[in-house]
């Protein structure tokens, strides 16, 4: 959209997903995660209840396993039916209650987790709206989109699926450990230490797991991007006969993914079975040490059975941990990125504290007088400026009276678009000042200022929703007011003849509307906003012939009584301006009426005009 994109984008920040950077930021993982947990605060009671229920299940499960011993010793071996039945009922009862509390706990956890995720998303969207424009210029769109979508999903996957399993597994492990230590300290300690190898193994391979998973997901998205690109570009592929070439490229992407999958497969082929082998160490240890103890009479057979059951229950949690390790890692990485996105400086910090005009107690009407006083502006930050300044606007001065129609002219990259962006306070300027009705722009509230500027461009944003929603987002407008505005722009006629009304649903992107109709909608939108300054950026180019006249007359109506700035990439679109400002490399080189500029035979404007005719 901006002609300066080229310049700004060359300063793209290094990708914080880049492998090199990620390694360095690892320390932040935990802290980031804790930061995100603050969003769970609101649901802390749910989390506590869920955790307690999951804990109860663990305790009950251990109790059930524990009475397995006396059940065998006191009930089965002496063949005592009464005692056996008593224990049997107890076991079924314990298992039943445990099951129910686990299920219920996990449900509560899932609900609370999904609400937490919603809260994080809400915070991200809020943040998106207060980040300065300069942030977006330095980031590729894809990355910002990834922050608010994919990265949150990484956390979501952990919160809604893994967290429950993990908590359950940990509860089980902790309770089983405690129970074993309490029952027979020495044997418990032996069993506990036999878990050490698997824990060490998981710890040692976690980095490799991360790399392997990351590679797969990277190549998966490369392949998806390739397919999407190939479909989008099929017309080009066909018109150059590149079918073979595109297949070669696509197959290469398939192959890259395959290689990464095979590498992962090779790795998991031995690590997964090894983990399950290592997880059986406690059972092996129990049989060896416990068995020998039983043989010498140091351990009762009942206790031995109990331990067998404990060990069985203990076996599962570690397997779970091993299987979930990459989800946990992914969640931590995502959490780190989301947290650092949230920590990005907001507009308030970059542009300074918001101004104080207008005072909420008084109504301020802006006449639309503009005064640029020796304004210099660069997209660079302070350090870059000191090294090698690259000014986009250089000592720019001009004055515009209220209601004047001004054309801004100049070659690509001359500073027209930047000048207009400064009016909306999208960027900070470094030198000079800009006055609106005699007050510095910095003294105005940014929200107020932006409302004062109506922006008409070729590109019209239309979203899926009612026509009313598309026209105004404010609820205080009566249908009457809206329809009146529609009548002024001529939009009313267009949508009525199409059989629509204010409540009619508009398709996404306005795909059921022509360019002209969309432009009429946008003009009505602006009229309802009632700005005092109007910026027109090629607003009437590329309109379908059926609506060309209507759009022109609507534009002329809206321009009345407002200060207008017309950015013209082509002189033909200038129309009837009072005055034309000719820009070249960030400076004002000529100004005057069209006629007077054409008279300067060697002037910039004269040359532009010649090139066009």
């Amino acid at each position: 959209m901006s002609k300066n994109d080229k310049k700004k984008k060359s300063y793209l920040k290094i990708d914080d997903q880049d492998e090199e950077v990620i390694g360095k930021n690892r320390v932040g993982d935990w802290r980031s995660f804790v930061t995100l947990l603050t969003y769970a605060k609101e649901y802390r009671f749910s989390f506590i209840i869920a955790l307690s229920l999951i804990g109860i299940n663990g305790v009950l499960a251990i109790m059930s396993a524990k009475i397995m011993g006396p059940f065998v010793e006191e009930g089965l071996i002496p063949l005592n039916k009464e005692i056996s039945s008593k224990y049997a009922v107890a076991i079924i009862f314990l298992e039943g209650i445990g099951l129910f509390s686990l299920w219920w706990g996990r449900r509560i956890l899932a609900i609370a987790a999904s609400k937490t995720l919603y809260a994080i998303r809400e915070r991200l969207f809020e943040h998106l709206q207060v980040l300065p424009m300069s942030y977006f210029d330095h980031q590729p769109q894809g990355r910002v989109v990834t922050r608010i979508t994919h990265d949150v999903e990484g956390i979501e996957e952990f919160f809604t699926s893994s967290l429950g399993r993990l908590l359950n597994a940990s509860c089980m492990a902790i309770i089983a450990t405690l129970a074993m230590l309490q029952t027979h300290f020495k044997l418990g300690l032996i069993l506990l230490s036999s878990m050490i190898p698997v824990v060490i193994f998981i710890f040692l391979t976690r980095e490799k797991v991360r790399v392997v998973q990351r590679k797969m997901s990277k190549f998966t998205s490369t392949l998806n991007a390739k397919l999407s690109e190939s479909i989008n570009g099929l017309e080009v592929i066909r018109s150059f006969g590149l079918e073979g070439w595109s297949k070669k490229n696509y197959d290469k992407a398939v192959d890259d993914l395959l290689v990464s999958q095979l590498t992962a497969n090779r790795f998991f082929s031995w690590t997964r079975p090894l983990i399950s082998l290592l997880c059986s160490l406690p059972m092996i240890g129990l049989v060896w040490f416990g068995g020998n103890m039983v043989l010498v009479g140091a351990l009762g057979i009942g206790l031995f059975v109990t331990f067998v059951r404990y060990t069985e229950r203990f076996f599962m949690p570690i397997m779970t941990l091993a299987r979930e390790i990459h989800v946990i890692q992914q969640a931590f990485t995502s959490a780190e990125r989301v947290a650092s996105f949230l920590a990005e400086a907001e507009e308030e910090k970059v542009l300074g504290v918001d101004g104080s005009i207008p005072d909420p107690r008084e109504e301020v009407i802006i006449a639309g007088e503009l005064h640029f006083k020796e304004v210099s502006m660069s997209y660079q930050d302070r350090d870059e400026l000191q090294k090698k300044a690259d000014w986009v606007l250089n000592n720019l001065s001009f004055k515009i009276s209220p209601g004047e129609k001004i054309g801004l002219v100049g070659a690509t990259g001359c500073g027209k678009t930047t000048t207009v962006s400064l009016l909306s306070r999208l960027y900070e300027f470094q030198k000079g000042d800009i006055l609106l009705d005699g007050y510095s722009l910095r003294d105005y509230k940014r929200g107020f200022l932006r409302k004062q500027i109506g922006f008409v461009s070729q590109e019209v944003i239309i979203f899926k929703g009612s026509l009313r929603e598309n026209l105004t987002t404010e609820s205080y407008f009566l249908d009457e007011d809206i329809l009146k505005a529609c009548e002024v722009t001529g939009f009313l006629k267009v949508f009525e003849s199409a059989g629509l009304n204010l409540e009619s649903e508009i398709l996404e992107g306005g795909s059921n509307m022509s360019i002209g109709e969309r432009q009429l909608l946008s003009l009505t939108r602006i009229l309802l906003n009632n700005p005092s300054i109007l910026v027109l950026d090629e607003a009437t180019a590329n309109i379908d012939p059926a609506h060309e006249k209507m759009v022109h007359s609507a534009v002329n109506k809206i321009m009345q009584g407002r200060t207008c700035l017309m950015i013209a990439h082509r002189l033909a679109t200038l129309g009837n301006c009072d005055r034309i400002l000719v820009f070249d490399r960030g400076s004002l080189v000529e100004e005057g009426s069209r006629q007077s500029l054409l008279e300067k035979k060697k002037g910039h404007f004269y040359r532009l005009q010649n090139a066009e005719s």
């Binding site: 080229k6 424009m133 809604t160 999407s228 006969g241 297949k247 197959d251």
Partner: protein, 563 residues
């Protein structure tokens, strides 16, 4: 051949082509299952051994100490063997699923590249193809491996467990099996429901993500027009819809907990009522009772898995059928024409007579009774308002659109007499909407050709982009696309022009391809083209007459007719 049959054919062919690894893999699964049974049985023996129960007869020749050592050895040995056999099926069967996935994915583009534009617009939109390549392949590849593992598990583990149980106590075996038979049915139902809900949640996520990227893309305009809050509200609504969908999926997944737990409790009840009675009556030893307990839980696994397998097979083959439909979708005939005919270099390049064109299913004539002759080296200008049929005419003249009425002769012959490759080497086309690949500037210019840097610079210079590229830090290697540099509309258009020039076409169609370029630059590009491409036939399309000043013949189109 029916679609279902064809899908099974894909599967069977793959299996028979890799029969060796499938043979080894299935053998490894068998060993794994065997070891799993042995572990449980062995645990029963160990408990029997300690509680003084009866051990199998072949233990009786050994001393107590020796027996203990043998039992311990079996425990360790079976675990070790299980480790090896698990590794074994992973490096064979699991590996094959990846090969199958790659094969399924490769075949998608292999076929889609020849699809008719109409099919791509209507039946196979990008979204559908993308989801085929991700979720259908993902689902389909399982039947080439993991589902087979499950199948073997179910059959052998089920049979083994049953057989072992039968040797211990026949009535108890039937009791246990009887009460657990609900599992496969219930699991299958649950798994299908879970899948449906998961898909819905994914769709919701897709919508949400689309909206999210739309919000990011339009952030500047939102800031200017102060509509950010409204967009955030929309996003939050979508986020909430998605949250609900996802949550209902998660809740369904959580139903596995009571299902599996319920099965355990039912098993306990059987064991503690009927089993206990048998034990009290002395029909079952205490060790056997413990072993039976383990076996019942072991029996749950195959029954549980059976449900998944039925569901997985069904879903897998449905996906394969969907994929096969893509593979067998009719292709654009003109792309597949086989012809060795070279283009004769005649004076008359194009001869169009009585050309009429309508879009299928639409009676409005885009072009009607149009006639035109184009000679070598000519500069033809086409001029007219939006919707006057210029682009359609260009597509027909370039041999891209062929469903017209009337006659179009390209060097004296119908386009269908030449192969696609021959025509495309000869004809260049620069569309109005620039499309670039997410690669470097250099590879966007050279595409499938091997161009030297000097050549690339030459074409960039001709299209007036050299100066811009020199300004980029990485120059020719500057990456494009979402993660690369963001070119302006005009720069993109100039790059697509350079790309077309680099193929040195004999006839070049320029479809309003400099509309976003400023006038000074445009003028110099037009001058370059006219000067350098003396031999090339040029067709210029524009809705501004200034672009057409180098043309020796200008046609104005209105409603598909020459004015």
């Amino acid at each position: 051949m029916s679609n279902a049959k064809a899908a099974r054919q894909i599967w069977a062919t793959f299996l028979s082509n890799h029969w060796g690894s499938y043979f080894v893999g299935i053998f490894a699964v068998l060993i794994t299952d065997l070891m799993q049974v042995l572990v449980t049985r062995n645990l029963g023996w160990i408990l029997d051994f300690f509680s003084g129960g009866k051990l199998p007869s072949w233990f009786q020749n050994f001393s107590k100490q020796e027996t203990f050592h043998i039992l311990f050895f079996i425990l360790v040995g079976s675990r070790l063997l299980a480790f090896i056999s698990r590794w074994g099926w992973r490096v064979t069967l699991a590996r094959n699923t990846h090969f199958a996935g790659a094969m399924l994915k490769g075949k998608i583009w292999d076929n889609v590249r020849f699809f008719k534009q109409v099919d791509l617009n209507k039946t196979y939109s990008k979204g559908i193809l993308m989801s085929a390549s991700t979720s259908d392949v993902q689902q389909g590849r399982f039947v080439f491996g993991f589902t087979l593992v499950g199948l073997v598990d179910v059959i052998f583990l089920g049979t083994f467990t049953m057989a072992t149980m039968l040797t211990i106590h026949i009535p108890m075996t039937f009791w246990s099996l009887g009460v657990l038979l609900f599992l496969p049915f219930w699991i299958r139902k649950l798994s299908d429901k879970e899948m449906t809900l998961y898909r819905k949640a994914q769709e919701g996520l897709g919508i949400f993500n689309d909206l999210g990227s739309q919000v990011v893309q339009t952030i500047r305009l939102q800031r200017i027009t102060q509509t950010g809050k409204f967009w955030s509200k929309k996003l939050l609504e979508e986020a909430e819809t998605y949250r609900q969908k996802r949550l209902s999926g998660v809740k369904t997944s959580l139903l596995y907990i009571p299902t599996l737990g319920g099965a355990s409790i039912v098993s306990y009840i059987v064991l503690f009522t009927i089993g206990l009675n048998y034990t009290m009556a002395g029909e079952i030893s205490i060790g056997d009772f413990i072993a039976l307990q383990g076996l019942i839980f072991l029996l749950q696994d195959p029954l549980f898995e059976l449900g998944f397998i039925i569901s997985d097979f069904k879903k897998g083959f449905t996906s394969l059928e969907r994929l096969n439909k893509i593979y067998e979708n009719p292709k654009e005939e003109s792309l597949l024409i086989k012809s060795e005919r070279e283009i004769k270099n005649e004076e008359k390049v194009l001869e169009i007579s009585n050309l009429t064109f309508c879009y299928p299913g639409n009676s409005r004539k885009i072009l009607s009774d149009f006639s035109l002759t184009l000679v070598k080296g000519q500069r033809l200008g086409l001029f007219g308002a939006i919707g006057s049929g210029k682009s359609t005419l260009v597509n027909i003249m370039a041999g891209i659109e062929r469903s017209y009425q009337g006659e179009v002769l390209f060097h004296g012959l119908n386009f269908n007499k030449y192969s696609h490759a021959t025509l495309r080497r000869y004809i260049g086309h620069v569309p109005q909407k620039p499309f670039l690949f997410a690669e470097s500037i250099k590879s966007n210019v050279s595409m499938d050709q091997n161009l030297t840097e000097t050549e690339v610079w030459h074409f960039l210079e001709m299209s007036g982009l050299k100066k811009d590229v020199l300004d980029f830090p990485d120059q020719l290697e500057t990456p494009l696309g979402e993660w690369g540099i963001n070119l302006s509309g005009g720069q993109k258009q100039r790059l697509t022009l350079a790309r077309a020039l680099a193929r040195r076409p004999k006839i070049l169609f320029l479809d309003d391809c400099l509309s976003a370029v400023d006038t000074v630059t445009e003028e110099s590009i037009l001058n370059n083209l006219d000067r350098e491409l003396k031999e090339v036939t040029l067709v210029w399309v524009a809705h501004r007459s200034s672009t057409l000043k180098y043309c020796d013949r200008i046609l104005e189109l209105d409603e598909g007719k020459i004015v």
